[in-house]
């Protein structure tokens, strides 16, 4: 029934259903036809046939509007539990298309592809931490008249990694460390590059040597610390939430940090890569498995 993302929507996976308005339209055509018959009225016949022909053409155009659409999914870079996952659905259609709709439980989006390309964004609810399978997406279009609905289902094998919901238990203690630190220790001169702040340029050097240089500053040494699962209190989810908040705070502060979870240890590091690995470890952590491992 469903197709995978990235393949053009084939004919046999595309379903056409009349809408309620379409059924009413059929009744209208019948009424006009009876009108034409009973009054022997040629123009009424003509209009009845035209409305019928319009419905047929609308059916074909609805079908063609969705046929061959390629939908690929763009997963959100990070999702925290309790928030929403902004799932991007990238459409490419080859030709201009209008009124494409994506529906999923709890969210819907609608877009036009005037250039044959476009992206819709769906706000999926992400209630729980962990690996979440992507739901079945329904592609739909009732363009151009709303008489018929073309339907197709899109099922992705990819899954979404939902990070724990960040929870600050006692924020101030961790935030002061390194938070708001500016690179302030003068560490020498380097060649100026376009884009350097004028305040950082060594104007004196320039007047003396005629070469534009910029002052370089170094960041004072940061904290080096470990975030430990066992050091937190509460049930596992709460502990993971606290750890998540700390990872975010330390990353913001530019600290070097490592993560110790039962069975998983992430060595100390810094930067966005460390942040991602730490958050992924938190998201994938399975307290039940740990408990089983410790039990024997």
């Amino acid at each position: 029934m469903a197709i995978a993302p990235g393949t053009p929507l084939p004919q046999r996976r595309l379903f056409l259903l009349p809408t309620r308005f379409g059924l009413v339209w059929a009744v209208l055509v019948l009424v006009l036809l009876l009108f034409g018959i009973n009054y022997q009225n040629s123009l009424a016949y003509g209009l009845a046939f035209w409305l019928f022909a319009l419905a047929v053409i609308a059916l074909l155009r609805t079908w063609r509007n969705l046929l061959g659409v390629i939908a690929t999914l763009r997963l959100p870079p990070e999702v925290f539990a309790g928030g929403e996952a902004r799932l991007g659905v990238v459409f490419s259609g080859g030709r201009p298309r209008s009124g494409l709709e994506v529906h999923v439980e709890g969210a819907a989006a609608r877009l036009d592809l005037p250039e044959g390309q476009g992206e819709a964004s769906l706000a999926l609810p992400a209630p729980r931490r962990g690996v979440q399978r992507l739901p079945l997406l329904r592609l739909e279009s009732s363009w151009p008249l709303g008489l018929v609905r073309a339907l197709a289902w899109l099922e992705s094998r990819e899954s979404l990694l939902v990070y724990p919901r960040p929870l600050d238990d006692d924020a101030p203690r961790h935030r002061h460390a390194g938070a708001g630190l500016e690179a302030s220790d003068f560490a020498g001169l380097r060649r100026a590059e376009p884009g350097d702040s004028p305040a950082r340029l060594a104007w004196k050097q320039w007047s003396r040597t005629g070469e534009l240089a910029a002052k370089a500053f170094s960041v004072p040494p940061r904290q080096q610390l470990w975030l430990d699962y066992d050091a937190c209190r509460g049930d596992p989810e709460r502990r993971l939430s606290i750890l998540c908040a700390r990872v975010l705070a330390h990353h913001l502060a530019g600290d070097r940090y490592g993560l110790r979870l039962p069975g998983v240890t992430l060595p100390q590091g810094e930067g966005s890569r460390q942040r991602r690995e730490a958050l992924e470890a938190l998201a994938r952590f399975d307290p039940a498995a740990t408990a089983r491992r410790e039990a024997p």
């Binding site: 018959i37 009973n38 022997q40 009225n41 046939f49 035209w50 053409i57 155009r61 709303g146």
Partner: protein, 706 residues
Amino acid sequence: MRRAAALASRSAAPAVLADGRALSGVMLRRLFIGQCLVLALHLAWMPAWLAAVAALVAGYRYLQLRRRLPRAGVVLRLAGVGLLVAALWLQYGSLGNMEGLIGLLLGVYLLKLLETHTRRDARVVVLIGMVTTTAAFLHDQGIPMAVGALAAVAWLVQSLVWLAGARRPRQAWRETAWLLGLSAPLMVLLFLAFPRLGPLWNLPQAQRAATGLTDEIAPGDIARLSRSDRRAFRVRFEGDEPAPSERYWRVYTLSHFDGERWRRAEPERLAATLGRPVGNFVGEGGRSPWRGAGKARFSAELLLEPDNRPWRPALGEPLASDERLRWLADGTVEGLAPLASRSLLRLESSGLAPAHPDPAGPGWHTLLPAEGNPRTRALVERLWREAGGEPRAFLADAMARFGEAPFRYTLAPPRLTSGDRVDEFLFESRAGYCTHYASAMAVMARAAGVPARIVAGFLGGERHPDGYFTVRDYDAHAWVEVWLDGAWQRLDPTAVIAPERIERGAQAVSEGAEAFLADAPFSPLRLREVGWVNHLRLDWERLEYRWQRGVVGYQRQARDDLMAQVARRLHALWEWLVGLVPGHGPVAGALGLLSIGGAAAGLAALLRLGWRRRHEGRDEALRIRRLQAWLERRGLGARAGESPAGHLRRVAAAAGSAGPALRDCAHQLERLHYAPLREDERQARRRQLGRRVVEVRRRLGRLPRR
């Protein structure tokens, strides 16, 4: 500038507000414009206050959207409907007739805007609009109506496209044009091929104004003469066309004279008066049941205008038709029902007055009031004596009197007021038009004992260059028939007093256009003398005639004829096919059909290929995408996130002999994408790319498909 931009952005607003339910003000305006277009189709026939209803409803919605008024509640809506019904009742006296029903439909359509809040409501409004448009075809089916309806339907369809989610006017109109354009051929096909059925049940019919023809004439009542240029009917002849002096269209005979007015004696009334069965006076069927009917000389195809009476004109005595009619014993014919819309009728007729006696008998046709008009009676007695009791000579004498000096033909004669109107006309005023002369002549004939009756109908008709005649209200005429030598004879006193009326039509009489178009101040016929205007008028009439005959008159007969013709053509084509292929019988025919189908399919495939080539020649990205898809089918697909050029280069390493070509493809693609090239260089590189792609396919073609 800013104002224009604001306007543009407003007109481009989507149909539904951001909450996904409520209609935007712009969409309501579109629905209102649609209502105005549909209403315009009706306004010429419907009371003008309906326009005020539309304006009131739109004004209310406008203020309500501006938040100065609450939404229309149930009470207000019910009051609106109540007022509408009351107003229609006052206008028409009941709601059961056609106009009342159309008014109700229109009013409901207009009032519906009050409670239109969601997309669903808006669609209902559009649907009612379609029905209301159809109802307008009950008034008229002419070209202006069809064009107006086309505009209205296009606007309604465009409204539906907006409701389906169009964002820009260009998009909405484009889609509407596609829809209408693509569906038109299917519509035409259905229109031509759909079997036409008779009416399934009776519906209220629209009341039609009567033409200038009356079934009662009272010489002296000046207002009785219609001088409008309204068309009465159009006619085309198969075979002979009548000369101008033969174009006497008989419609009614008036055989009952009460001293002042001549009346028609309908078969039922005649039967009741004379105490005989109705069957003696009228018969239904496809041809005239009366014995001694003459031979058919003219075969006419009449395009009749709607009228509230079922009369049908016939040139002389009607003889046969393609539909069931009521054939009256006086040699006239009636339809079974009045015509609500223009329709076609084929009628054969003799061109002469009937040759069979009227079953009412000579007694009925010599009946005069016992007293009155003494001077006329005295004159008749004198003439009869002078003629030696010979009817023919008597009638000739009587007719000749009208050609003498004091009598004149005028469309504005003095009123006749005395009790002896014939006396007053013959001896005092001596001025009048056809009915005066016909009445006087018939009275004189009857006074002499010669059976006589007045025939009301039309004389003449304008011959169009295309070969059909238009007969208008002002062509209405009256003349006399007398029973002489075993047949009715036509006797037209007007031919004596105003021969130009017979030869050149009503407009030729001395008073000219002013008088004969007195009831039609804006008629284009007034400009008959201006060459190019007359040309335009004739062109328009030709178009109108073709439309009425070909489209509006496309009913059962026309459809059956066309289908028979198509079947003949198909059969001829089949025969030709069978003859084309050596051998005989259906197998050969099927073979021929197959080969033609094959040739057509081949041609279509070639065209498609050419189109694709052309398209690819201008779009290198498309060409490369197709190449990538082709590679993918052979298991050499791109990896996720790989650029097209990167993909080709990676594949090139494993592609053996196709490697250099693939690398060159990637190179050309990158040059085309990123290098600043002149147009001719660009073309050259595209061609090079095309050749390389062909080479890749040739060299890799031996790989199995997966």
